[in-house]
Subunit: 218 residues, 2 copies
């Protein structure tokens, strides 16, 4: 089966690094480097013009950083696979880039094979993270994610349903309407929930819901 080559754009503010990466990618058969940019604005502009399949971008760049550029490109050309290629394995940039819409995250210390693998993977719309970043990611997850506490199990499905609706700013009347119940029934559930979690008002229900994982941050 014939595979058309993957068209790649490089963005980094260091000329030498771009050169090295360009040479490296030129050696890979089905990859074609179609452009370079030394800042985020140029990256966005050239991406709009040339529609690369894959972008390899640094984070720290003048005029517009890689995060803002990624966000912009993810919005305007959502089919573009964006891979972050940066030196540091820090929590915040990883999360910001993920949030901005990057599909891959590879450290600059990566070897040639890994970069090639990242490009191949992301070009199929699959996420790719290098080992270090995956480790970081799992670390972040285990650090920030609280497993549903046993208390969770104390709630019936109905109760959890109502808790989530409460968190979404629905009043008892609205919840009753949407669940085809009486307003009094919803109020009854609400009271039971408050008793269970020891809350004095919906405020307590909501804080409990967030802290316990019944509701999520996003």
């Amino acid at each position: 089966m014939f595979k058309r080559s993957i068209r790649v754009m490089i963005a980094d503010d260091h000329h030498l690094f771009r050169n090295g990466l360009h040479d490296l990618l030129d050696q890979i058969r089905n990859i074609q480097v179609i452009g370079e940019a030394d800042n985020g604005q140029e990256l966005v502009r050239r991406t709009m013009e040339t529609s690369p399949d894959i972008i390899l971008t640094d984070i720290h760049m003048p005029l517009m950083d890689g995060i803002a550029a990624t966000r912009e490109i993810a919005r305007r050309k959502p089919d573009t696979g964006i891979i972050v290629l940066t030196a540091f394995n820090k929590e915040e940039p990883i999360l910001r880039m993920l949030d901005a819409g990057a599909l891959g995250y590879v450290l600059k210390s990566a070897d040639n094979e890994e970069i090639a693998e990242a490009i191949q993977t992301v070009s199929q719309r699959k996420p790719y993270f290098c080992r270090e970043v995956t480790e970081k990611l799992t670390e972040i997850v285990s650090k920030n994610y609280q497993l549903p506490p046993d208390a969770d199990l104390c709630f019936s499905e109905r109760e959890k349903e109502i808790i989530r609706l409460i968190c979404r700013e629905f009043t008892s009347k609205e919840i009753a309407y949407s669940l085809n119940l009486s307003k009094r029934t919803v109020e009854g559930h609400r009271t039971r929930i408050m008793d269970k979690v020891g809350a004095k008002s919906i405020a307590g229900i909501i804080t409990y819901a967030f802290r316990s994982g019944i509701c999520y941050r996003k």
Copy 2:
């Protein structure tokens, strides 16, 4: 370069599934299946005896589930690469298995190549997650991890103070008393806060507070 074959152990309570997987793995050159287990206890015991390089295990199994078995094996034989092979792409089992020490997570719907790839990857001590799970993982991260919010800056200290008190279940009257203000003043702040965050009620204020990081989970 000569590569010694990867010694794999299979754990699943379904005989047919073990068979199918066994046959599949037998077709891969450098993989050698050295044993099977149909429950977690047996998995741990046989792992202690035979020290496989890689374990492919289901989660739901009698006597001891895959999570407990993984935890045990990660503690007693930390060099073992454990890959979860399960049917469902749910948040909780993923996190539990990661926490327990699994390095890979592949859905049973995966094709042969993907399972082979997972084994190869994990045998190099690199984590491997199938696409769906990676997506879930990033979803979990972006859902639970809060970026330092810019919105935070939009609130005056007074407003943030009041937001935190609201989250702690204080009523306007109580807040007014504790801050030596009029109840009406607190209500005024509350209204301004609701306007700013686009909330319809305190529920909206609290969810905003959690999501933006003005209030914390733990």
